[in-house]
Symmetry: C2
Subunit: 244 residues, 2 copies
C-alpha cells in the first residue's frame, strides 16, 4: 500500500457490474418506456428484429422479454405482415397507501434519485437553451408542453409529464444526459404513483413547465436551469414530505 492510497474511494467507486440477466434488462427498459408513455397506449413497438438490434441483444433474448411483457399485460402481439406488438397497458392512476411498504434500501434509492435529478434535469434544460434549436425541435418542445397542459385526467397527465422532461433531455442532444434523465424519470414515476395527486400541485407544476419552456425557447440557459431547479425542488419537497 503506497502513501497515496485513498481507502475510501474503492468502496464508493466499485459497483455491481450489471443488475441482472439480459432479458430482465430488456423487460426493465421496455417496461419503463411503456409506463413513461414513450410508447403510449395503442402505439406499436418496433419489429422484433429491429428492437433486438437496437438493444444489442439476440432476438431470442428479446422474445423472452416480450413474452414477459405480454404475460404482464403491457402489450399484445399479432402475427403476419402488418402485425406486431402494440401497447395495451392503460396508464395507472396515482394512488396513495403504496408508499408505506417500501424497504429502507428503496427509500434511500428514491431520495438519491431526487438529488441526482436536481443535478441532471436543470443541466439538460440549460444545455437545450444554449443550442440553436431547429424549428422541428422547437415544435417538439411546444407540443410536449401542450400535451401536459391539455392532459385532463391524472394518469395521462403523469405520462405527458414524463414525456415533457424526456423531450427536454433529448433536445440537449447528449446521450449520457438522456440516459440519466430516463433513469431518473423512471424512479420518479414509481414514486409519483405512490402518492396522492393534488390539483394545486399540478397547476403549480404546469406553471413551472411554462417558465422552463419560455427560457429554453428564448435561449436563456441560466434562466432555464434556475426554472428547472425550482421545479425539481418543489417536486422533491412534496415527495420527501410524503415519503419521510
Amino acid at each position: 500500500m503506497t502513501g497515496s492510497a485513498a481507502q475510501h474511494l474503492p468502496e464508493a467507486v466499485l459497483r455491481p457490474v450489471r443488475g441482472h440477466h439480459a432479458f430482465e434488462a430488456c423487460v426493465e427498459q421496455l417496461g419503463t418506456a411503456i409506463r413513461l408513455g414513450v410508447y403510449p397506449l395503442g402505439s406499436a413497438l418496433p419489429a422484433e428484429r429491429e428492437l433486438a438490434a437496437r438493444l444489442h441483444v439476440s432476438r431470442a433474448t428479446l422474445r423472452e422479454a416480450m413474452a414477459a411483457l405480454r404475460q404482464a399485460g403491457l402489450v399484445e402481439t399479432t402475427r403476419g405482415r402488418g402485425g406486431g406488438t402494440i401497447v395495451t397497458l392503460k396508464p395507472r392512476t396515482p394512488s396513495a397507501r403504496a408508499a408505506l411498504r417500501v424497504t429502507d434500501a428503496k427509500r434511500q434509492d428514491w431520495l438519491d434519485a431526487l438529488e441526482f435529478r436536481r443535478v441532471v434535469e436543470p443541466g439538460a434544460a440549460a444545455l437545450a437553451a444554449q443550442l440553436e434549436l431547429t424549428d422541428v425541435r422547437r415544435e417538439r418542445l411546444e407540443r410536449a408542453h401542450e400535451e401536459v397542459v391539455h392532459a385532463g385526467r391524472p394518469a395521462p397527465h403523469r405520462q405527458a409529464d414524463s414525456r415533457f422532461h424526456l423531450t427536454i433531455a433529448a433536445l440537449s442532444g447528449s446521450p449520457r444526459l438522456i440516459e440519466a434523465v430516463t433513469s431518473v424519470q423512471s424512479t420518479l414515476h414509481e414514486m409519483l404513483l405512490a402518492i396522492p395527486v393534488l390539483d394545486t400541485n399540478i397547476a403549480h407544476s404546469d406553471r413551472q413547465h411554462a417558465t422552463v419552456v419560455r427560457a429554453i425557447l428564448a435561449g436563456r440557459p441560466d434562466r432555464a436551469r434556475k426554472a428547472m431547479e425550482h421545479h425539481c425542488d418543489d417536486t422533491a419537497a412534496l415527495l420527501r414530505g410524503l415519503l419521510g
Copy 2:
C-alpha cells in the same frame, strides 16, 4: 398510434442494454479503477470472493477478468494466506499523437463526456458543499487536494487529479452521482493521455482546484459549483481545441 405518440422519443430513449459479457464489464471497471489511481501502484485489490460479491458476478467470471488484467500487466497475483492481487501498472505518462487515430464515433463520445461532465461535476461539488461534512470527510478532501498539488511528475499528477474529482463525488454521498463522475473521469482520463501536458495548464488547474476546495469547506454550494464549472470549461476548451 394515438395522437400523443412522440415519434422522436423512442429513438432517444432506447439504448443498448449492456456491454455484453460480464467479464468484459469487470475488466473495464477494474481497469478503470486502476488507471484512475483508485488502486495505486503497489496497492492490493480485495480478495476474489469479496470482489465478486461487490461486483455481483460469480467468482468464476471475476477470475476470467483477473486473468485478463494479469495478462495485460496491470496486476500480479500470489497465492496463500497473505497473498492476493496487487497493482503493478505504472501510471502512463501523457503523450501526444494518439489523438489522431480516434474514430468519429469516439470523438463524438468524448465531446459528449465533456458536456455531461460540465453538468455532473459542478453538481457534485455543490452537493458536497451543501452538506455538513464530518472532520474525517473534510480531511479526505484536503488530503486529496494536497496529493494533486504535491504530485510532481505528470503521470502521478494525472492519477491524483482523478482521485481528487472522485473524492468530491464521493463526498456528495449520491451513488448515482458517483457513478456518473466515475464514468466521466474514465473517458476524460483517456482523452488527457492523448494530449501533451503544459505546466501552465497544470498550474491553472491547481489554482481552480484550490478554489473549489475552499468553497466546499466553507459550505458555499453556489460558489463551489461556479468554481467547478470554470474548471470544467477550461479543461474542455483545452481538449476541444486539441481534438477538433
